[in-house]
């Protein structure tokens, strides 16, 4: 009996005129989104390679260890073909130097805001918005539509338990909706292979997981449609109700909850933190210069005592030695400022994390947001991408700085140009002691952080659990309301 019911349901779905229309639209959209994703990925890789090449070239042309800096670029993950996530919103590169702290800047959208006007369309978006809408379209009249047609009474004239009927409804619609859509999904995966997108074994398991979660998400909407349909007496009202539910779940709750978290937890602008750091730095440097002035005066006195003025050879050597000392003192001040900023930033990050946790937890009331968050995590373009890169860049910065420092002290270089103005010597402009080129062998390079599969899967488990819970909840709801349903 169960199979008969499922078969009947399946036939009803596939033979309905809306099936042809929605299937065609969905297939085109899924393929289009993956195709666009592939193109954007290739463009991204091209841009990344050009940028890193240019950056390498630039650093090799440098002639001074002083003020030497590198740039760390965010790489493009092939999973972005399916889920663009925050890839276009977060800065693409950061300066890596002793002077400035790590900060990702120049997001793709801020460089080319034309792409920000209408945003992006990717696989996850199509599933989250369009496919969910179609799932509702097929299930809103699952139960009450049959009652309106009078077929519900006929079904129950047979010896069919109500549970079995409901399960058959869900399974039949599921088979009719999800299985055909696997065709465009497989085709799009074929497209990915055809364009030779370098997906590793781990990436493929992520893709499989993504498809699995997408199916779970759609199943939730199917069961929810059945639930709403058994809750209402007329199909017109269940249609309206499910459309409202769709609007609220997919479009409103995610956005509203994040905005609410923004109101509750206040996180200052980064510029404010930087202003505080600059204030501190200004104080420290003022102090430093005052000390330097004193040191210079003392040195001048020593020079006078030793009556070495006029001995240019000695003067110059002593001068450079002293500049080295100054350099060391300068570095000390810099470290202090850096530590101060690190403390500020830690507090700032902590606040931000609180805000994010609140916003995202609130948003998970909606399965659409749970789905999107899971998809982003799988693609590595979620909210943790930025801190992940920042910590990797910080690590690289330490390596890079100690490398530069070591080489600088070996080469005996002191940077800068010294200009002296005094009543005896007149104006003297020194050329700096810089070589024509630097020996940059053994230079550390920045490798973008890799995410092991287990690290990706772990946070997804919560969202999968939420989706599964949503399905169970809807099904139990459908079951309870259907049991009390008046079949006439």
């Amino acid at each position: 009996m169960f199979t008969t019911l499922v078969r009947k349901e399946l036939r009803a779905v596939i033979l309905s005129p809306k099936f042809a229309a929605t299937f065609a639209v969905l297939s085109v959209l899924l393929l289009l989104s993956v195709y666009i994703g592939i193109q954007e990925y290739r463009e991204g890789v091209k841009q990344y390679e050009t940028a890193t090449n240019l950056s390498d070239q630039r650093i090799l042309e440098q002639t001074s260890w002083h003020n030497l800096y590198d740039k760390g670029y965010r790489s493009v993950d092939p999973m972005q073909v399916f889920v663009s996530g925050l890839g276009y919103d977060v800065g693409r590169w950061s300066e890596v130097s002793a002077d400035n702290s790590v900060k990702l800047r120049n997001s793709a959208y801020s460089d080319d805001p034309v792409f920000a006007v209408f945003r992006f369309v990717d696989f996850a978006f199509i599933v989250q918005v369009v496919f969910a809408l179609f799932a509702i379209l097929f299930t809103y009249d699952a139960v009450n539509g049959e009652r309106e047609q009078g077929t519900l009474r006929m079904v129950f004239a047979n010896a069919v338990p109500r549970t079995q009927y409901l399960v058959a409804k869900c399974v039949g619609t599921w088979l009719g909706l999800v299985v055909p859509v696997c065709i465009p999904i497989l085709l799009s995966l074929l497209l990915v292979m055809m364009f030779k997108i370098p997906l590793t074994g781990a990436d493929w398991s992520k893709v499989v997981l993504l498809v699995g979660i997408s199916i779970l998400y759609i199943s939730l909407f199917i069961v929810m449609g059945v639930f709403i349909s058994s809750l209402t007496r007329r199909s017109s009202s269940s249609f309206l109700l499910s459309l409202v539910v769709w609007v609220v779940l997919v479009l409103i709750i995610p956005r509203a909850s994040v905005m609410a978290a923004g109101q509750v937890v206040h996180v200052p602008q980064r510029a404010e933190i930087e202003g505080q750091r600059d204030g501190y730095a200004q104080d420290r440097w003022t102090q430093f210069y005052a000390d330097m002035e004193k040191r210079l005066l003392d040195n001048a006195r020593i020079d006078e005592d030793q009556a070495t003025i006029g001995d240019d050879e000695f003067d110059e050597e002593a001068m450079w030695a002293r500049m080295k000392e100054e350099d060391a003192a300068r570095k000390l001040v810099q470290t202090e400022i850096e530590e101060y900023e690190a403390r500020l930033l830690e507090d700032w990050r902590h606040r931000k994390e609180t805000q994010q946790k609140l916003g995202l937890s609130l948003s998970r009331f909606s399965p659409a947001s749970a789905y999107q968050l899971a998809a982003m995590t799988l693609a590595g373009t979620d909210i943790s991408m930025k801190p992940r890169y920042e910590s990797a860049l910080n690590q690289y910065r330490n390596e890079f700085n100690s490398y530069v420092e070591e080489n600088q002290s070996e080469s005996g270089q002191v940077g800068g140009v010294m200009i002296q103005i005094g009543c005896e010597e007149g104006v003297k402009v020194g050329t700096s002691r810089e070589n024509d080129g630097l020996d940059l062998s053994g230079r550390p390079t920045f490798t973008p952080p890799a995410q092991p599969l287990s690290e990706v899967v772990q946070p997804v488990v919560t969202d999968v659990g939420l989706l599964a819970f949503g399905i169970m909840f809807s099904f139990v709801g459908a079951f309870v309301s259907f049991r009390r349903n008046d079949l006439r």
Partner: protein
């Protein structure tokens, strides 16, 4: 007769449960978007003020303007940007201004607070594009086909009513009923703004009024499309399905796809390429500069003060040459990129205008001052400010410091005079000047006109289709 039909249509529309439910959702969302916009604006203003204050605070206790290296300016939040966010969250807000050198703004809100980028913003323009259009479809899809299914169409046409009057009455009636109720919700939302302390100038009210007008035009387009499709189909289920497909393609796909397409079709040199060119030219100039500096010959004098002056003058002339060369080069590179971008934008937006959503988005963004022009406008004004700032520093310090130059005076004679701290408030303030209302309106007119035209077009189409409609 027309009046009777309009009257009947309005009464029927407002009396239906469908209307009650969808209108309730719509109204709540509209008011919510205003509320969120106002609250968000206040948070942004707080941040903006705090950042600005911090920028001045860091200068406290400094005794010499020579020590002042960097000055930060910020793009102030605009009241209407909270309602139509446009690209305001995507472009950099903070610009570090030095006396010379190219300016770059960074710290876009979405980069700094990616949490808001995860699901994007819930603003009025989003409610307009997605919810209002859905609302229009939901209430218009069965305008004709529904009456036919219920059999009332035949009854209506049994009277001496010309078909033109009937369809005109239907359209006007439903439009009046829906727009009046929407305007009530929008009005409540507008009232929220001053109540929540958002400072709205007269110009802002004009802008808001025009934004709402554009929204209504957009709503009209979807209503007439629904009417048209309803007159070309025999059954309500098929008209709804067709409209849903139109909605998905129009609202979600065309705008996004066309921009991505234009991105592929028109090549724009990337920021990195341009940046690398600039950097290599700058390092070349720096080498020349250093050689120039080394070849300085001091005057035959013992007076340090005079010597300083001569040296400063010499340095100034060197700097001026270097600056001029660099500025010329950057301006040229920027313009090349800008021109390519312009072409790309034109292709993208004209393609996107196939969908009324693009017209709505572009027009409302122009009206609220958050269109793509915002980035260039901010950049231009920051450049103008840089000149003022450089002149100010020059006046204060007598020299044109910038870059990584470090200048300090050592007093050999131990002349101990207590130095006065500088007054940070003397620093010239940066004021962002939004485009004037007529300018914005001019930029938006094309798209508003397009929306109006679509209204007429689809109405005419449904008129023609209805004349041939089989009412049985």
């Amino acid at each position: 007769m027309l009046r009777v039909i309009i009257d009947k249509e309005m009464r029927e529309m407002i009396g239906s449960t469908k209307f009650a439910l969808t209108f309730a959702v719509c109204a709540i969302l509209i008011v919510l978007s205003f509320y969120i916009g106002a609250a968000n604006y206040k948070v942004s203003v707080d941040h903006y003020q705090a950042a600005k204050a911090e920028n001045l605070q860091q200068l406290e206790g400094v005794t010499d303007w020579l020590m002042v290296r960097q000055n930060r300016i910020f793009l102030p939040p605009q009241p209407l940007a909270a309602l139509v966010t446009g690209v305001s969250n995507d472009i950099g807000r903070t610009t570090e201004v030095e006396a010379r050198g190219e300016l770059a703004s960074h710290d876009s809100r979405f980069n700094e607070e990616p949490i808001f980028a995860v699901f994007r913003f819930l603003d009025l323009s989003f409610i307009f594009t997605v919810v209002l259009s859905l609302f229009a479809i939901l209430l218009g899809y069965d305008a004709i086909s529904g009456e036919k299914e219920r059999g009332t169409l035949k009854l209506a046409l049994a009277n001496a009513v010309p078909r033109s009057t009937l369809i005109m009455g239907k359209l006007l009636g439903s439009f009046a009923a829906l727009s009046v109720s929407l305007l009530v919700a929008l009005g409540i939302g507008c009232l929220l703004l001053p109540l929540m302390g958002v400072p709205m100038a007269a110009a802002d009210w004009w802008r808001l009024g025009l934004i709402i007008l554009t929204g209504m035009l957009y709503f009209g387009v979807f209503l007439t499309i629904s009417m048209f499709i309803s007159t070309t189909t025999q059954r309500t289920s098929s008209s709804f399905l067709l409209l849903l497909v139109v909605w998905i393609v129009g609202v979600l796909i065309i705008p996004r796809a066309s921009v991505l397409l234009a991105g592929r079709a028109v090549d724009v040199p990337s920021v990195d390429e341009v940046g690398a060119k600039k950097a290599s030219y700058a390092s070349q100039l720096w080498k020349d500069f250093r050689h120039g500096m080394a070849s300085f010959k001091g005057p035959e004098t013992q007076d340090v003060e005079q010597m300083m002056n001569v040296f400063n003058k010499y340095m100034d002339s060197l700097t001026a040459i270097r600056d001029e060369k660099m500025n010329l080069y950057t301006a040229q590179l920027n313009e090349e990129r800008y021109n390519r971008q312009k072409v790309q934008q034109a292709v993208a937006f004209n393609l996107a205008r196939l969908s009324p959503v693009a017209s709505l988005t572009l027009a409302t963004e122009e009206l609220s001052g958050t269109s793509l022009g915002l980035k260039n406008r901010y950049y231009d004004q920051a450049m103008a400010y840089q000149k003022i700032y450089a002149a100010f520093l020059k006046e204060k310090t007598g020299m044109n410091v910038g870059g990584r130059m470090m200048v300090f005076k050592v007093k050999m004679d131990g002349e101990e005079e207590e130095e006065e701290p500088i007054d940070p408030n003397e620093l010239p303030a940066f004021v962002y000047e939004p485009p004037s209302v007529p300018d914005s309106l001019q930029a938006a007119t094309g798209d508003m006109g397009l929306l109006g035209l679509l209204n007429i077009l689809f109405f005419a189409a449904s008129f023609v289709a209805f004349r041939r409609y089989d009412a049985r």
